[in-house]
């Protein structure tokens, strides 16, 4: 039962109401200058990009198995049952591994601040908990951004694609990419033109790549200890034996000499 967003570029008119709604919800400044910025940043969590009359919206994809949450050493980022990937500022020590690991370069940093935090779309968890839709979905006048259950939205996206194949790039982004995301995208232009590199994104959840190695550590520690301990025992035992033999030989010598006397 996880909530998702479906963005359908063919319904988008580029009015940027989603941007304004997002800024208001997250207490961020919003004006014409910021509206013109077509990149997400520490003061802009979602953006609508335009190429003539074609649009694409970017925001946190809220991965099903998010790399950012997996890499965070202090658990400041977390995937909630309801769908959003949320951030707990009080835990964050600012290592920025989440930014390095995110395949969509979503987490942004407050570089200009002395005590910065990570900033990103958190999918309005408070609104969702209160049974409401996200601020961006509520602000959207055309239904280009739609809020709902992930399964239902996937079905709907596939139906739209089937009904009007000519209008869309033939792909629902977010069903399989990096193990699936809670934000689904339908594009009118090829995704690559928006800088969304489908071919380079693996289908496996990214945390698997590190988990495969990390999961071996619990076995490695006792095994490594035993091997090294064994090596120590053997190498030093050799010395001991050599020493004992030398002593024995000396004693024997001494006894022989004593007997002869």
């Amino acid at each position: 039962m996880s909530k998702s967003l479906l963005y359908d570029a063919t319904l988008c008119i580029g009015c940027k109401q989603c941007e304004a709604g997002c800024a208001e919800q997250n207490h961020l400044p919003y004006n014409e200058r910021i509206a013109a910025e077509e990149v997400t940043s520490d003061h802009k969590f979602t953006t609508v990009m335009a190429k003539d009359d074609k649009y694409m919206r970017r925001l946190c994809m809220h991965c099903q198995d998010p790399a950012c949450a997996s890499v965070c050493p202090v658990g400041a980022l977390r995937k909630t049952e309801a769908g959003p990937v949320v951030y707990e500022e009080a835990r964050c020590m600012g290592c920025r591994y989440c930014m390095a690991a995110c395949p969509f370069s979503v987490p942004k940093y407050e570089w200009s601040k002395v005590l910065p935090k990570v900033q990103k779309c958190v999918m309005c968890p408070d609104r969702i908990a209160a049974g409401k839709q996200t601020a961006c979905a509520e602000a959207c006048p055309t239904g280009a951004t739609k809020f709902g259950e992930r399964d239902e939205l996937i079905r709907e996206a596939q139906e739209r694609l089937r009904a009007n194949p000519g209008n869309y790039a033939p792909h629902v982004f977010g069903i399989n990419e990096v193990g699936g995301t809670s934000v689904l995208l339908l594009s009118s232009l090829p995704f690559e033109q928006w800088g969304i590199r489908i071919a380079e994104l693996p289908k496996d959840p990214l945390p698997l790549y590190t988990y495969r190695v990390l999961s071996r550590i619990p076995d490695f520690v006792p095994l490594g200890g035993m091997v090294l301990g064994g090596v120590w025992w053997i190498t030093h035992r050799r010395d001991e034996v050599a020493e004992a033999e030398a002593r024995e030989r000396a004693e024997k010598e001494a006894r022989k000499n004593g007997g002869a006397r």
Partner: protein, 393 residues
């Protein structure tokens, strides 16, 4: 002689002043004002060099303590102390550099209580913390001896073998995990460097650099402190280095071959140049040099090879953390002068720490033997193996 001394002091002072200025800017105005890091390059020189290379350069600590105390290679005993000193000061500097890089450095202890066992960074943090503790204990006999504290000395000596084993395990874990950190970025890191074997490469190259650093440091301190060069020892290290580098080279080649990337190493391209710079310096030329008997047995040859290996693997770490990302990002990253000067201050601090420790602590165990033969030492007379062997245990 006197001029040289003043010159290096001047260089040191300049580096420290610039580093100090950068430190003030960093902590009063933030990362944006002091560095060229940004949302595309959340990690810059301070992670790429100060942390990745810093930890790698300090790998001699576990390599040498393991070889001497676990594998019982007694010949190497005389250089354990300077190597543990290098490792200890290395880890202290890495921790200091980390305080610059963390956005909220005063929360550096958070991983201790807010654990996420799925995070490689969490594992690295724990290992580095624990290993620094182990190193401080491995280093402590030197301090305890200096102040004639024999009781605690006994305790440490009794616990030495388990400590060394723990140190080796912790080092294996975090040296390799620094490579594992990048496994989660298959789409970002260029295929020259992204490999499922990254943790293995990081580990083997750490051993190689640990050995090379020990050769470098022995050669350098013999010159600076007028000590005898333990030629048989660094020859031994050179021999081990040859083996370790060969293993690394074979694995690296096989890995490129099996991932189908080998064809791309001849395509003239930005990444290709850095790939060749790295591998010529770190692997190919050192392997050729070390295969030549004359080079492998001469102090100058070993010194040159060691410096190349160190520089080559520094290039490797920077390639993984910076060069390999540039294609994905689509633009270059060049550290700011303040990033450079903080890094330079860390390196200079490392040299200073080493020098101070050598001056005030019994680092070189055969010092007493040397004092009589100082003039001879300057002519590069070889220390006898006898002295080396007896100095330990």
């Amino acid at each position: 002689m006197k001029f040289k001394f003043t010159f290096w002091k001047l260089v040191f002072a300049v580096i420290m002043v610039l580093g100090g200025y950068a430190t003030v800017i960093r902590f009063t105005q933030g990362l944006g004002a002091s560095t060229n890091m940004n949302d595309q390059y959340p990690w810059g020189l301070w992670i790429g060099f100060d942390v990745l290379c810093g930890v790698m350069l300090a790998a001699g600590g576990f390599t040498l303590t393991g070889a001497v105390h676990i594998f019982n290679v007694k010949r190497l005993e005389p250089i354990v102390r300077p190597t543990v000193l290098t490792a200890f000061s290395g880890y202290l500097l890495v921790s200091t550099a980390l305080l610059y890089d963390l956005g909220r450095p005063y929360r550096i202890w958070h991983p201790l209580v807010m654990r996420n066992p799925h995070s490689v960074m969490f594992e690295v943090a724990m290992c580095v913390m624990l290993y620094t503790t182990v190193l401080s204990l491995e280093f402590s006999p030197i301090v305890l001896e200096r102040f004639h504290l024999h009781k605690p000395l006994k305790f440490i000596k009794a616990a030495l073998v388990p400590l060394v084993i723990l140190g080796c395990i912790l080092s294996t874990l975090h040296q390799s995990s620094l490579g594992t950190m990048y496994l989660i970025m298959p789409e970002k890191l260029h295929p020259f460097w992204y490999s499922p074997l990254l943790p293995v490469f990081f580990f083997i190259s750490a051993i190689a650099v640990g050995l090379a650093m020990t050769i470098y440091e022995s050669s350098l301190s013999s010159r600076i402190f007028g000590r005898q060069l333990e030629l048989p020892i660094i020859r031994e290290l050179g021999r081990i280095l040859l083996v370790v580098l060969s293993v690394y080279a074979i694995l690296r080649f096989e890995d490129l071959l099996h991932r189908g990337v080998l064809g791309r190493v001849l395509v003239p391209q930005y990444e290709t140049y850095f790939f060749w710079l790295e591998n010529l310096l770190a692997v190919i030329i050192p392997l050729i040099l070390l295969s030549i008997r004359k080079v492998r047995t001469s102090p100058a040859g070993l010194y040159l090879t060691a410096v190349m290996v160190v520089l080559g693997f520094i290039t490797n770490r920077l390639n993984v953390s910076i060069t390999g990302m540039e294609g994905w990002v689509g633009r270059h990253y060049m550290p700011s002068w303040m990033e450079f000067s903080v890094t330079a201050a860390m390196v200079a601090g490392g040299f200073a720490l080493f020098g101070l420790a050598v001056k005030h602590l019994p680092i070189f165990e055969d010092e007493h033997h040397n004092q009589q033969s100082q003039p001879a030492a300057q002519k590069g007379v070889i220390a006898s193996v006898e002295v080396a062997t007896n100095a330990g245990d």
